[in-house]
């Protein structure tokens, strides 16, 4: 196993090696590592699918105000006059995902739900990542007592069942979309801090950091130029996957009625509303369910693809 890989690398290295003048006129002589990573990512078909899907969902959700109400009807528009007539229609050309009990177009509600789910995913992950990065960096760089305190705190956080912890927190600060951001965001930091800490620790031990120290580089320079660029890749990967997790948590909260307040749609509330009609009008539940499934899967696949693409060691091994 190891041998072919070795050879492959070797051959690759030799091909790139600068000795022969032919190579000097390489088609792309100054390719960067991020450029290389992007190249590798492009070769990963699953990751490309994931990117296309995420972009599609983002674009549709972002531009929803421009066309959804006109084409499908407003997500919260419930007109008592037409309500009965339009209640729980099967999918059709006019209502591709059917309609719900109140006669609202389900596709329209799924699209507006995407806005909430994506925002929760990204903002909550953003909050976790910032907290995680700061605490992870402090623990790793200063070590000693700081490390012990922060990491034991992380252990304590991780020892609680996550969803229960979030529910408890929502119960304390009240439900509503901002509080969902805060609860998921704040409680998500320990794993990010751990990943970042171990990434920094391994980089910190590396020879090139020693090299920088031996040249007399300041702490700030070492962190900014050497440690951060080499440990951030793992965080990019982890955060990408975390977005999917946050979307799931938000759905779970909304399903339990602790997240988004109706009539605002979120994928979780849609499923919750639809579950009563699973026997008779299954699309009410299946369609938002599919939205969650595909989107979370897309973030996971993208994260996987990024991990492979950003792994410099694949080149060095």
């Amino acid at each position: 196993m190891q041998y072919p890989l070795d050879l492959d690398t070797r051959a690759d290295e030799c091909a790139a090696a600068a000795e022969a003048p032919v190579n000097a006129e390489d088609s792309n002589p100054s390719r960067t590592l991020w450029g290389d990573a992007f190249k590798r990512l492009k070769k990963n078909r699953l990751a490309i699918f994931a990117i296309i899907w995420i972009l599609f969902v983002v674009v549709v959700a972002a531009t929803a105000d421009l066309w959804v109400p006109q084409v499908l009807g407003a997500p919260n528009a419930s007109d008592t006059a037409t309500m009965v007539m339009n209640s729980r229609l099967a999918p059709s050309l006019q209502h591709p995902f059917g309609t719900d009990t109140l006669g609202r177009d389900v596709l329209s509600r799924v699209i507006y739900g995407a806005r909430i789910s994506l925002t929760v995913g990204i903002v909550a992950t953003g909050i976790s990542t910032i907290i995680g990065l700061v605490l992870g960096a402090i623990a790793a760089y200063y070590g000693g007592l700081w490390d012990t305190i922060i990491m034991r705190l992380a252990d304590i956080f991780l020892a609680f069942p996550y969803t229960l912890f979030v529910i408890a927190m929502i119960a304390v600060i009240g439900n509503g979309i901002q509080n969902v951001f805060i609860a998921i965001g704040i409680l998500g930091w320990p794993s990010i801090a751990r990943v970042f800490r171990s990434a920094i620790l391994s980089v910190k031990e590396s020879d090139y950091v020693d090299a920088a120290r031996s040249m007399g580089a300041s702490d700030v320079r070492i962190i900014a130029r050497h440690i951060f660029p080499n440990s951030v890749a793992s965080i990019v990967v982890y955060a990408t996957m975390n977005i999917g997790g946050a979307i799931l948590t938000e759905s779970a909260l909304s399903f339990l009625g602790l997240g988004v307040i109706p009539p605002d749609p979120s994928w979780g509330t849609l499923i919750q509303e639809g579950q009563k009609f699973l026997q008779t009008e299954p699309w009410l539940m299946i369609m938002p369910g599919l939205a969650i499934l595909t989107t979370v899967l897309a973030f996971t696949l993208l994260g996987d693809g990024l991990r492979d693409a950003l792994d410099v060691k694949m080149k060095d091994a």
């Binding site: 050879l7 492959d8 051959a11 030799c14 091909a15 090696a17 000795e19």
Partner: protein
């Protein structure tokens, strides 16, 4: 774990067919098909080996020396690897077309292998005794107790103190040199015909390296097995190899007895390797003559001789045409256009202790090999 198949006959007990050698590798080609193209890892390797002989395979990293051995053992995953030609015959049996099941009997039982890194070649969760005895249980159908007893004997044989105690220890309790001894004990457990050692001493310190080489030679004298010693260090094979194959970019560029390689070499790459090693001189320092440049990519091999771009004597012919094997009467061969040009060889080959008719007295020789005092 499969029990030994009773109907199976050990190949090593069968006679070598008349007119053949124990192991015959003929024009072996192993290519890897990768995204970047076809890697010509092994490109036409031929040699023969008899019992009691030691073959040294010398080359730089990426020269295909390890892949050759792995191919013989059937350890290359295919794909990406693919055998593009040639044959490997062991006691008249074709190893390349053998079923995986039969190959499993050959591995460890008839042909055993020692790897470079003694730290990762042992499984950290099993006791040493169990790992050493595993081959015996697998190939010989030993019971647990018999295998452990034999493992203890083997550890004693390879010079591990207190073997009764140490069979019950785990790999992390052993030092690097001790682990390599364990690896040798494991490899020798089933009394193999051929022992392939892939850089067995590279990861070890010089004093430990000397111990391990001595041990391998001792074991060979006792068991009469053949050894294939893969290394990048010409020094290591100088006193242990009977024959040496020098590899470059997947090709065997020169093959001959140790004396032929060190004193009558006819290939500029071999000369370059010899000249690259700092000499232990005590009068004055001679400058090193390195081989310039880097090994070629195995994907885009030069059209002519693979060594031509780095060869200080390369001519137009060398860049254009791939040299054929120039075989001397006694099996010594060299893949160089000018191997048969005596004047060329005489002019450029490095000085040796023989050509100078002096054996440099770097180390006085009236000292007995000693064991450590037990103070």
């Amino acid at each position: 774990m499969a029990k030994k198949n009773d109907s199976y006959v050990d190949i090593k007990t069968q006679p070598v067919p008349e007119g053949h050698h124990l192991l015959e590798v003929d024009d072996l080609k192993m290519y890897f098909h990768t995204e970047d193209g076809v890697v010509h890892a092994v490109d036409g390797v031929s040699y023969t080996l008899d019992r009691g002989e030691t073959l040294g395979v010398v080359g730089e990293s990426g020269s295909g020396k390890s892949v050759t051995a792995m191919t013989i053992m059937g350890l290359i995953s295919m794909p990406p690897g693919k055998i593009e030609g040639g044959s490997v015959t062991y006691r008249g049996h074709d190893l390349l077309n053998m079923s995986e099941e039969d190959m499993q009997h050959v591995r460890g039982n008839d042909i055993a292998m020692i790897f470079q890194d003694p730290m990762t070649s042992l499984n950290p969760v099993y006791k040493i005794g169990r790992q050493v005895g595993e081959g015996l249980r697998l190939h010989r159908g030993y019971s647990k107790e018999e295998a452990l007893k034999r493992a203890t004997e083997l550890l004693d044989l390879v010079g591990i103190p207190e073997p009764e105690k140490r069979v019950n220890e785990y790999p992390h309790q052993f030092s690097g040199g001790m682990r390599q001894r364990v690896m040798i004990a494991m490899a020798l457990a089933c009394d193999p015909d051929i022992l392939i050692a892939d850089e067995p001493t590279t990861a070890l310190d010089v004093t430990i390296q000397a111990q391990i080489i001595e041990l391998m030679q001792e074991m060979q004298e006792k068991n009469g097995n053949a050894i294939i010693m893969i290394t990048h260090d010409l020094g290591v094979v100088a006193d242990m190899a009977d024959k040496i194959m020098v590899m470059y970019a997947g090709h065997p560029v020169e093959f001959g007895t140790a004396d032929e390689i060190f004193y009558e070499s006819r290939h500029p790459y071999t000369w370059g390797l010899i000249r690259s090693i700092p000499e232990q001189a005590t009068d004055e320092k001679k400058p090193l003559t390195p081989i310039h440049g880097n090994p070629p990519s195995l994907v885009n091999l030069p059209a002519g001789c693979a060594f031509a771009p780095r060869c200080p004597y390369a001519t137009e012919l060398c860049h254009k045409e791939r040299p054929k094997k120039y075989v001397m009467s006694d099996g010594h061969y060299s893949e160089c256009h000018y191997a048969d040009d005596d004047a060329f060889v005489k002019k450029f080959a490095p000085d040796t202790s023989r050509s100078r008719a002096t054996i440099p007295a770097a180390i006085p020789d009236d000292v007995e090999a000693t064991k450590g005092g037990d103070a």
